[in-house]
């Protein structure tokens, strides 16, 4: 139960950890990668025409005779889009994926950001419209609690294209999925990054997704489409499947690294707290 008091207390403790990690106290605590007029020093840069005189470091000018401006991180409120994979393939990790979404949404709402939750299957549906403020916490948790997996093949590309068409304002997009998209993930991630969105991938897989414990004759059934096929699983087949999963995950990792997309890959065997702490400590959400 996402609205369970115990879980809410857990989220509060996570928020405290998030504040400690993020270090901000103002509105829109979430740090931006953009440099500008904030109060947190980010870097030095040579003065160029149009820069704010107030940001010139006069001490440096006094010593070296060069105009150097100090750059500060812009602290702005932003919209956090939580895109939750709703397909049947998520059944085995549905509890974990909703808990993570709830935690991220909670931190966003308490950081006074806008939070919007989307469900993804072969289309995109809004689960929680854009909401701001701590008062929306219950609405967030209730909407996630009522969210269920739906039948039909997941189409990440179509969902991402729909998102790109609807949301032209830049924001933070967090995709929570196992990333087992038969049509691939790269096109979808490209669509999500289209308007300068920061994209973060949270890959959650069950152990049974990564291993093959079946032996002998098996009738495989696709959990999303219901397609079936008879197969004799020998140790070679089992090994080949594990290799294929590893290759798939490695390709996701490579794509994310190449395109500056944050990625955390976890399994249902790892506890919720541990995953959240990893997310926050790595700062992947704000990097």
């Amino acid at each position: 139960m996402l609205t369970d008091p115990a879980f809410v207390r857990k989220l509060e403790s996570l928020y405290l950890l998030a504040r400690k990690v993020l270090g901000g106290t103002l509105q829109a605590d979430r740090r931006s990668t953009k440099k500008g007029a904030g109060i947190t020093f980010a870097d030095y840069a040579e003065y160029s025409f149009g820069d704010d005189f107030r940001s010139i470091d006069w001490r440096v000018y006094a010593r070296f005779g060069e105009l150097i401006v100090k750059l500060f991180e812009i602290e702005e409120d932003t919209t956090i889009h939580l895109m939750v994979d709703q397909s049947h393939s998520m059944k085995a990790k549905w509890t974990e994926i909703r808990e993570l979404a709830a935690a991220l949404g909670y931190i966003g709402l308490h950081g006074l950001d806008q939070v919007c939750v989307h469900g993804m299957t072969d289309r995109l549906q809004v689960v929680l419209p854009k909401s701001r403020g701590r008062g929306k916490t219950l609405a967030l948790l209730e909407s996630l609690e009522q969210l269920n997996t739906t039948s039909g093949a997941s189409d990440f590309t179509a969902s991402a294209r729909a998102f790109q068409a609807r949301h032209r304002r830049r924001g933070l997009v967090i995709v929570l999925s196992d990333f087992f998209f038969p049509g691939g993930f790269d096109e979808g991630l490209r669509y999500l990054s289209w308007h300068g969105n920061e994209v973060f991938c949270l890959q959650v897989q069950a152990l049974s997704d990564r291993q093959c414990t079946w032996k002998g004759d098996v009738e495989l059934e696709c959990i999303e489409t219901g397609r079936r096929q008879r197969v004799t699983v020998t140790p070679k087949e089992a090994r080949a499947y594990v290799d294929a999963v590893e290759a798939w995950n490695a390709s996701l990792e490579r794509y994310c690294a190449r395109h500056g997309i944050g990625l955390i890959s976890t399994t249902t065997a790892i506890s919720f707290e541990e995953v959240m702490q990893t997310i926050l400590r790595r700062g992947g959400l704000v990097a």
């Binding site: 087992f180 079946w214 032996k215 059934e221 696709c222 999303e224 096929q229 140790p235 294929a244």
Partner: protein
């Protein structure tokens, strides 16, 4: 081909539901997967195996159906038409040589017989017999293989020498399973078991007390080793466990020359002569030898002038067991009348006596005729050369056994018994004739005294198995395993079939005697390879029944199918 139980063929109809069940059985477990597209990718690379997988399922079904058909056919019990149907007697050679080898030839023979019994199941009757010293029937003619196999399991080899006598030719025909070829009629099928085995055996042995008090040992060995073998032969006294002699012998292949040795020991009783060599047949490596020391027969002379009688007794005193006794004699020699002793030897009967009747005149040169040949009292006598001067016309008692009579029927030597008193009467006057100067006179006294004392029997130190020995009707034999056998009026005991020391209890008051029994047979010890002889064809099915093979095939097929099934189960 025909079937003994064709009703079982209806069982083939159950193939139809079996096939249905099979299709249900081979439906695999359904497993849902989130990464179906990855599985497709994996299986795409291994598509070449899909055809085999489909064929494998079909093959599995065919194998199961075949196994089922084989089982049904086995239950129907197919037999070849025109096969052997006549009754047979399976005769197994149970002689001592069949104990050779490991496994023994007898075990192999039983295995051959078992195979034959299984092969003739249901359509041929058989009996089981063993053939050692004689033919022994163990199972009567029956078609029940279980009864035959049970009887076969109970068979044991003997220590007896090879088969003697005839197997017979009349139906049912005989199948002899043996380790050597026998000269038997062509109608007998001979099946050979066993091969050439390396063996050394004692084939002759004796141990006797010599006049000087020492013991004399005699033995002979045979060998089937391919080259000369140096071995030790030991002679051990059983009661005291004293090692009397160790003899190093080089045994040549074949029959060796007899060996003779002297033994300083004077111990009497049972000795064990043993070949210290591991070989194929341990049975012929040991021979018990018994050295007997009989107490002398005490003979008294109830005569005033008994010089010649005393000399006759003393002439056998040293080595043949007679002793002159005055106070408590076993046998009393008298002249004229019978003494009151229980055993008496009476010369020159005279006067009235219940031991004879109608004494008359002297006979005129009576010609002695032996009327009871082979009597122990006459054993060493040449009666025809004896003179019976002074013999008188007389009649012996009705129950008397006349040993020698005159040509006119007058008893010259006879034996008679009244209650516990036994008497031998010699109808002659030793003083009138030169008989007492004749060498036959002391021999007659010795033979009669020995017989009256009940010590006529003389036993060898060892006998061979299969031999028969003569024993007094009152004797009792105790075999090495402790089993007792009362002669009960029989004159002979045998065949000797237990290797070891046998004890004989004679009459009351007479010391027990003993003798050893060993294999002592060169034919048994010379272990050669057998030779099969089946001139007129096989009398029984030489192979296992078809149903057996069908069952075996079915099991084999099920094993193959189970491997395929295992593949389906665990990949």
């Amino acid at each position: 081909m025909s079937f003994l139980s064709p009703a079982f063929l209806w069982g083939l109809l159950t193939l139809i539901p079996l096939i249905g069940i099979y299709f249900l059985k081979v439906r695999p477990r359904r497993q849902q997967t989130s990464a179906y597209f990855l599985w497709e990718k994996v299986l795409e690379e291994r598509r070449s195996r899909a055809l085999f997988r489909r064929l494998r399922d079909l093959l599995s079904l065919i194998l199961l159906a075949m196994a089922f058909v084989f089982v049904v056919l086995a239950l129907a019990d197919p037999v070849r038409e025109g096969g052997p149907h006549e009754d047979v007697v399976l005769v197994i050679d149970a002689s001592a040589s069949m104990q050779a080898g490991d496994p023994s030839r007898f075990t192999r023979a039983k295995a051959v017989a078992r195979k034959r019994i299984l092969g003739m199941r249901g359509h041929q009757r058989a009996a089981i017999a063993t053939w050692a010293n004689d033919l022994h029937l163990h199972a009567h003619l029956t078609a029940d293989p279980r009864a035959l196999l049970a009887s076969l399991d109970d068979l044991k080899p003997t220590a007896l020498p090879g088969p003697r006598g005839a197997l017979g030719e009349s139906p049912p025909t005989r199948v002899l399973i043996t380790d050597r070829f026998h000269d038997l009629p062509e109608t007998v099928e001979q099946i050979a078991v066993g091969r050439q085995e390396a063996n050394i055996g004692i084939v002759a042995a004796d141990l006797q007390a010599l006049p000087d008090g020492e013991l004399g040992l005699y033995f002979q060995l045979v060998s089937t080793f391919g080259e000369p073998v140096r071995i030790d032969i030991t002679l051990r006294h059983e009661a005291t466990d004293t090692l009397g002699k160790v003899i190093a012998v080089e045994v040549l292949p074949g029959t060796n020359a007899p060996e003779v040795y002297r033994l300083a020991s004077a111990l009497r009783g049972a000795w064990l002569l043993q070949v210290e060599q591991t070989d194929a047949l341990p049975l012929d490596n040991v021979v018990p030898l018994v050295v007997t020391k009989r107490p002398p027969i005490r003979v008294g002379v109830a005569l005033e002038e008994g010089y010649f009688f005393q000399q006759a007794i003393l002439s056998f005193a040293e080595h043949s067991g007679l002793a002159l006794e005055v106070d408590d004699p076993d046998v009393v020699l008298t002249l004229g009348q019978v003494s009151e002793a229980e055993r008496s030897l009476v010369f020159q009967p005279d006067g009235e006596s219940p031991w004879w009747h109608g004494l008359g005149d002297d006979l005129d040169n009576p010609v002695p005729v032996v009327t009871t040949a082979g009597h122990p009292a006459l054993r060493y006598l040449d009666v025809s050369s004896m003179r019976f001067d002074g013999a008188r016309a007389m009649t012996a008692p009705d129950d008397a056994v006349v040993l020698v009579a005159s040509d006119r029927g007058v008893p010259l030597i006879y034996e008679s018994q009244r209650e516990s008193q036994r008497v031998i009467v010699v109808n002659m006057d030793p003083a009138l004739t030169e008989s007492r100067l004749s060498p036959w006179f002391p021999v007659l006294i010795h033979g009669a005294a020995t017989h009256l004392a009940g010590q006529t029997a003389s036993y060898r130190s060892a006998y061979a198995t299969g031999e028969w020995i003569s024993l007094p009707p009152s004797a009792r034999v105790i075999a090495p395993d402790g089993q007792e056998h009362n002669m009960g009026g029989e004159g002979v005991y045998g065949p000797l079939d237990a290797i070891g020391v046998h004890t004989i209890d004679l009459e009351e008051g007479v010391p027990s005697r003993a003798f050893g029994v060993g294999l002592l047979n060169a034919t048994e010890s010379l272990l050669g390879a057998g030779q099969s002889e089946s001139p007129s064809g096989t009398r029984t099915a030489a192979s296992l029944p078809w149903s057996w093979w069908l069952t075996l095939f079915a099991i084999g097929i099920l094993v193959v199918e189970s491997i395929l099934y295992h593949r389906r189960r665990v990949g």
